[in-house]
Symmetry: D2
Subunit: 334 residues, 4 copies
Amino acid sequence: MTIRFALLGAGRIGQVHARAVTGNPQAQLVAVADVFPKTAKSLIATYGGEVRDIDAIAASDDVDGVLICTPTNTHADLIEKFARAGKAIFCEKPIDLDIGRVRDCLQVVRDCDAKLMVGFNRRFDPHFKALKDTIDAGRIGKVEMINIVSRDPGAPPAQYIKVSGGIFKDMTIHDFDMARFLLGEEVESVSAVASVLVDPKIGELGDYDSANVILTTASGKQCAISNSRRATYGYDQRIEVHGALGMVAAENQREVSIEVATADGYTKPPLFDFFMTRYIAAYAAEISTFISMLTDGTPATPDGQDGLRALAIAEAALMSVRQGRVVQVSEVLG
Amino acid sequence: MTIRFALLGAGRIGQVHARAVTGNPQAQLVAVADVFPKTAKSLIATYGGEVRDIDAIAASDDVDGVLICTPTNTHADLIEKFARAGKAIFCEKPIDLDIGRVRDCLQVVRDCDAKLMVGFNRRFDPHFKALKDTIDAGRIGKVEMINIVSRDPGAPPAQYIKVSGGIFKDMTIHDFDMARFLLGEEVESVSAVASVLVDPKIGELGDYDSANVILTTASGKQCAISNSRRATYGYDQRIEVHGALGMVAAENQREVSIEVATADGYTKPPLFDFFMTRYIAAYAAEISTFISMLTDGTPATPDGQDGLRALAIAEAALMSVRQGRVVQVSEVLG
Amino acid sequence: MTIRFALLGAGRIGQVHARAVTGNPQAQLVAVADVFPKTAKSLIATYGGEVRDIDAIAASDDVDGVLICTPTNTHADLIEKFARAGKAIFCEKPIDLDIGRVRDCLQVVRDCDAKLMVGFNRRFDPHFKALKDTIDAGRIGKVEMINIVSRDPGAPPAQYIKVSGGIFKDMTIHDFDMARFLLGEEVESVSAVASVLVDPKIGELGDYDSANVILTTASGKQCAISNSRRATYGYDQRIEVHGALGMVAAENQREVSIEVATADGYTKPPLFDFFMTRYIAAYAAEISTFISMLTDGTPATPDGQDGLRALAIAEAALMSVRQGRVVQVSEVLG
Amino acid sequence: MTIRFALLGAGRIGQVHARAVTGNPQAQLVAVADVFPKTAKSLIATYGGEVRDIDAIAASDDVDGVLICTPTNTHADLIEKFARAGKAIFCEKPIDLDIGRVRDCLQVVRDCDAKLMVGFNRRFDPHFKALKDTIDAGRIGKVEMINIVSRDPGAPPAQYIKVSGGIFKDMTIHDFDMARFLLGEEVESVSAVASVLVDPKIGELGDYDSANVILTTASGKQCAISNSRRATYGYDQRIEVHGALGMVAAENQREVSIEVATADGYTKPPLFDFFMTRYIAAYAAEISTFISMLTDGTPATPDGQDGLRALAIAEAALMSVRQGRVVQVSEVLG
């Protein structure tokens, strides 16, 4: 059985998913929509499919599912539209920057009995998935503490920062999802510290570029997250999970594993340059899982609730920074 | 431009190439031949194309190139047949176990002005290619010594050993090619030691399962190769190149890069289990290079001469073991 | 010039310093005092010197300096006594668990113009010192974020926990000192989270065994510290410093650097089992620095103020946990 | 019980042993002899003891053992002299460059029933010792192949090369001893290849600076050794042992374990600069073992026979290079 996809948004992340779809023997890229027709045309030149507008896709009989890769402020509307059109939906995170809007949107998804998967790609990274498998196999015992280091190679441009929702909703949200994925228990409270160390313009826009966050669960498990918008050495993505019987850690990844030794020392190349290269396998596995979910009827994971929870933690983190205190996630979620 | 391929031989290595071809946007798998029609049918079920016999493929207008993945003893005949049929040829190593037969075959290739690429896949591995790039960039200075460790996870079955041509022509031949690739100078003499440590049955068949070989060039550069037919920890594939200004080494590869720490220590998973998984990227790049060579008109590399040279070193290594002396490659090649 | 030492306290940490002193060609162990004469005798049997009581040591002409390795509640009294006796003083951390008592004590040190070095041994670890040197050499640019992971192999006995002052004053205090050492700027505010995950008895005593702390400086630099009282894999001591131009990290240490590869994977031995083995070189360098300071007249580092500052951060961390808010160090120090 | 030592030869290696002796609580450095009194005086200024001449030492009642650290051509005479004087003898390798002379010398040792330990320090390195322990514990099964990489940071001066006996007797001899130590079976045959790649002056003196050697035992076990007189990245000392059930490897050592990550990659410092720093712990353990052997009456290991065997392999390696054939050790030993 082949799943026929339409791609909404042919930008950077849209291309990542187009590659994942066309590389999957069970998937077909049927249609591509973008507000800039040139961008859509350029994408189909490489990956096939035809250019259609959003309404045409919603009305298409030859489309089983859509991949929403448009700007964040359009996500909720598109999810609702395609839920009503009876399509399976994969949506890039976040669903929306506003908790209330997310809730309304998820209500529509439920009402339409639509399938919605939210794009937390890191759960599908083979290395991070191996962390989860190791925990589930009991090798490190009961999870106690998680340490996540997540640093982007460089800060995004100001215009992106403006609409991003801030570092916690844009960047740390992935770490919040990984924390939930690995802790095996809901996050209850959040302590966050943030500052502007990389680029003063980010501060002028009311955002931060450097942050540390501590999450706590009801039983006292802790997860520490360290973020920076700059790492000269590449896309720094590490997770370690410490338990009663041991620890498991996922190392950073690089394109080639060579080491050059000279009088200056032993040098390995910098890390992957960003998520498009670092998470190729994760994006492929994500689409593959989405397809399985459609063909096998298994429930979507991560789903809309996962999107909502991660967003609520992000909201709580921002409150924590601003108010200088521990914030309960329940203060945000009600 | 799309290159249309026919695959000859749908066994293990045939499947590896079928995957590489179908994953390449510039290639198409048109036809598959195998002495067992069931095997061919099984392959097209996954990768597409249609089953044809060898003669039909030779006569097909819709086939630009063939991938010879049949048993070794058919390679030379098939190369000649398809050279005469005007097809581009990719042939798995070795061309033949007999130097004379290889020479005759290459003469036919030259007479027909055919394109022939020989399947030394490791040259295309991104990690080993990075070694070559590092050398060419001058970072380690003039190459002086190379150390190759190459160990299979387990010994092949007796029936394979019987027709394999022995460890040097079957297994070490890849290392000989890498040595030539990286030394930047022809190998002149060979000292080899071999014994049976893994499986006495291998010895009963007149072969060895454990070997060390030292290659030397005219200027005195040396390459040491260490082989075993068994490594409990996976497919052990390491190369380091030592030069006047430094060293560059390619590390072993594993599927996931996690480390589990317990009271027993810090443990990383075993290595990739064999060449089909370890060299996925290499096989993809190999086919991609073959396609470039066909579309751009660049000469094939590695070509028939590379196949001949590696085979001659293998022959010299066997003579060295049997006669307990350094053997010149010229004794074999004349 | 040889410095003649008296050792006060012949327990575990006293033995560590006895070894450092007797291994130093510029030092001599003259006298040892302990409330248990047997313990003192046992120590001199291995390291030399003679048993004397505290008063005799204070009155001894042949003692240049004392090493205070007695229980914490005696530190301040002994510092004052030996400051008045005109001896150079090396005191294990902390000076006292009470900030006011520390201040009074340091006033006596100043009044007597005594030399006082406080035992933050990690500053002298060659690996951590290399971090500092790398920062000072400008290789990673302006320091932005520090991540410290510091886990003990196992929790101390209940009777030790009772008098320890709690995890922040007993264990994290070393990390607080390293943060100050490496940040190059005073810590202003503290956010801490702590829980009891390892041993409920620790909780019954009002203490914690698992904690994460975020320190912030005036310019927004951040330091995240992760602590646990249990690590099955050994004494986990890692620091990484992230700056505008790069990062520098100090790896964990183990007794032997071997790796065993089997079908179960690649395994390195567990880490050093605790501070007595992990920090042998640090303790030797610490004593050597103390000696230099006495012979060259250089000021003591780390000194009493360093001890006071680290203690104040510990106090602030405890307040932060209890009050669920960011605490300014100035709230503690006034 | 304290063993009282006299040191013969106060040069570079003599200083290494002086440090090991004075750092050992069971040893005392009583006397030092050197043909240059200045050198001897300089050594005692740091390490204590008094300057005496060789004859005085032989006649001294307060000397239990001697450490022979003089030039190689004096070793055999000194061993005989002190064997007759009834002293325990530790002698740096090699005993002599001539097999016959070694044999005569060992006969004197036997006749005098003297204790003689030969300075193959690497057996005492904690990392290499851990290799041996791992093998003995059965963790890698029956040993099959050993790979030794041993590279000096730089070539010695011409005047040293002249009297060194050549690369095999001077440098590789350590690797031959390690091979014997770890193979658990005597080396039977030797295949060696050598060339001059580092410094033509070494070639003009009839020596080599780059070599690969393959050793074989009766049962077919193999050991491959790779040597170079130059490694820009430090003192490269690696051993890996491959067995039926797995592999164990000892990694290179460096002074500090830090890693700096920048846009240029991840860089660790170069290795230890040479044997004086790399093998500090080995030299200390070697002397400690020598002392145990004297106090406990355990037999010396490695002893004169070990010295003789390693020398014979070196001789066979040189024959192999010159004659271009496999050489049996029995051809040398008779």
